[in-house]
Symmetry: C2
Subunit: 296 residues, 2 copies
Amino acid sequence: MVIECVPNVSEGRRPEIVAAMADAIRAIDGVRLLDHSFDTSHNRSVFTLAGDAAGVERAVLALVERATADIDLRTHRGEHPRMGAVDVVPFVPIEGVTMAECVALARRVGSEIAARFNVPVYLYEEASNNPARKNLEDIRRGEFEGLAVKMASEGWTPDFGPAAPHPSAGATVVGARMPLIAYNINLATNRLDVAKKIAAGIRHSSGGYRYVKAMGIMLEDRGIVQVSMNLTNYEQTPIFRVFETVKREAARYGVQVLESEIVGLVPSAALNAAAEFYLQIEGFKADQVLENKLHR
Amino acid sequence: MVIECVPNVSEGRRPEIVAAMADAIRAIDGVRLLDHSFDTSHNRSVFTLAGDAAGVERAVLALVERATADIDLRTHRGEHPRMGAVDVVPFVPIEGVTMAECVALARRVGSEIAARFNVPVYLYEEASNNPARKNLEDIRRGEFEGLAVKMASEGWTPDFGPAAPHPSAGATVVGARMPLIAYNINLATNRLDVAKKIAAGIRHSSGGYRYVKAMGIMLEDRGIVQVSMNLTNYEQTPIFRVFETVKREAARYGVQVLESEIVGLVPSAALNAAAEFYLQIEGFKADQVLENKLHR
C-alpha cells in the first residue's frame, strides 16, 4: 500500500526550521520523504512523503509537533494564503489503496492532531461531507487573521478540536484527494487575451471540465503566453482531453501549441492513458507495464 | 539493478516438466519468476524472470540443469524452430543497468553453461561481435537436425564449449538485447494486400525502420487485417513513429486504423515516450513519474 501525503507548512524563510521538520519526518519508520522545498516569498514549505497508512500518520503527527513548537502565525508574513502552522494535509491514494481508506486516514489523523496539540481541524475535499467545506479556498478565506471571527460564525465549527484557533498555530485543514497534476501549455503567441480566453473555456469555474483549474498568464522572458493548469482528477478529466481542447481552441485564434510541461510529479497511469488514447490501444491493462509487474 | 531474462525452452507438452523448471527458478534467491507459459503446438515454453545479475545467472544455470536432464531433442517435434533444449537466453536491461553490463553477463553465463553442462553456446544480438552471428534466425537456421553439419562448417565454431552438439540438448544461444514489444495495429478493412504493403513499407528487411519486424495477416474471425509487429528497440524506433507511419500509409489506401494492441509486457518508458510526443511535453524527466520516484 502506498499513500502519498503533501503537507504544506507556513515556514519558508528559516532553513534550519524547515530542515528540522524534514528530519522529524525522516526519523519515522514506514514512510519516505520524497521531496521538500520552501519558498521565501510565500514563506511556505511543501513536503512530499509516501508510505503505508501507519507510516504517514506517524510522520504527519511528528511534523505537526515540530511546526506547532517552531511557528507563530501572529508574526508570520508571506504572499501565500494560510490559516495554520501546518496549513493543509492532503492524503492521496497511489497504489493498493482506495480513496475511502484515505478518507478514513484523514479523519483519524485530523482527530489525533486536535487531541494531541489542541489545534482545531477542518476536513476538506473527499474527507468532508459538507458541500460548503470541500473547497480549500472556502475554508481558508479570511486566513489566520480572520480565523477567530470566522470560527465563531455559523457553519464554521471545526470537525475536530476546540471551537477557537490555536493562539500561535491557527487551524489545520486535513483531507483526501486524487493526485494533482500541475500542467501548463505554452502557446506560440504573445497574445495574453488568447491564453485567458482558453483558460476560461476549459476551467470548471466558468463552465469547462470538472477537474480543471486554469488561468492565462504571460511568460515575460520568452514573450509567449501560457495556459497554466491544475488537473485535480486525471481519471475523470484526463490530460489528453484537456490538451486536445486547448489545441482546438487555440486554432480558433490562429494560434498553435508550442509545447506543454508537467511541473513536478505525475502518476504513471496519467501518462499511460495519453499513450492509450493517441495510439488507440484497445484492451490495455496496467499490469502489462513491466515496472508495475516488477514492483508488485 | 533489474535485469529481465526470457529463456525459451523446447518443452511445451509435458506440464509437469515445465512446472519443475518453473520451480527450479523460484527456488533461487535474488530473482523473481514474473511469468511463464507453454504452447503445445510449438512444443515450447517461455519464462520471464527478473532480478539482479547474480540472481538471473543462478536461475538460468538452474534452468539449464533441469532442461538438459529432462529434454531430448532427438525425439522433440514442434512447429517452432529450435536447436537446443534451452534454445535462447536473452538478457534485457530494465532499470539501473547498462546494455554493456548485460553483454558481460551473457558472456559469463554462456561460458558457464558450456563449462558445466558441455553444451556449445553461441552469442547473439548485442553480445555477439560477429555480424553473421547477431541474428537469431541465422544462427538457428538448419535447427537441431542440421546442427552437427552446420557446426563442422566454416564460421560456425561456437563461442563457448565443444565444437559439436550436445547429443540430446543441442546448442544454446545466449545474448543481450533491448526489451521487445509485440505491437499490432488493426485496420478497418478486410484487404490483406493493404496490410502486407504497409508491413513491407515499415519493416527493416525491406527498407523500413531499423528496429521493426512486421507482417500483414488476416484476422479471420473478425474479418479485418492486422499489421503484426515486433519492435526490437523502442528507444531508437519509438512506438508513436511506427503508429503514425502505419496510419499515414493506410490513409493512402483509404483505410483507417481501427485500434492497436500491445501483447504482453511493455516498459513504462515506451509508453511515456508516446505521451511526451503527442502532448508535446518539453523537458520531461523519468524521475517525474511518481512511481519511479517511489521505487528508487
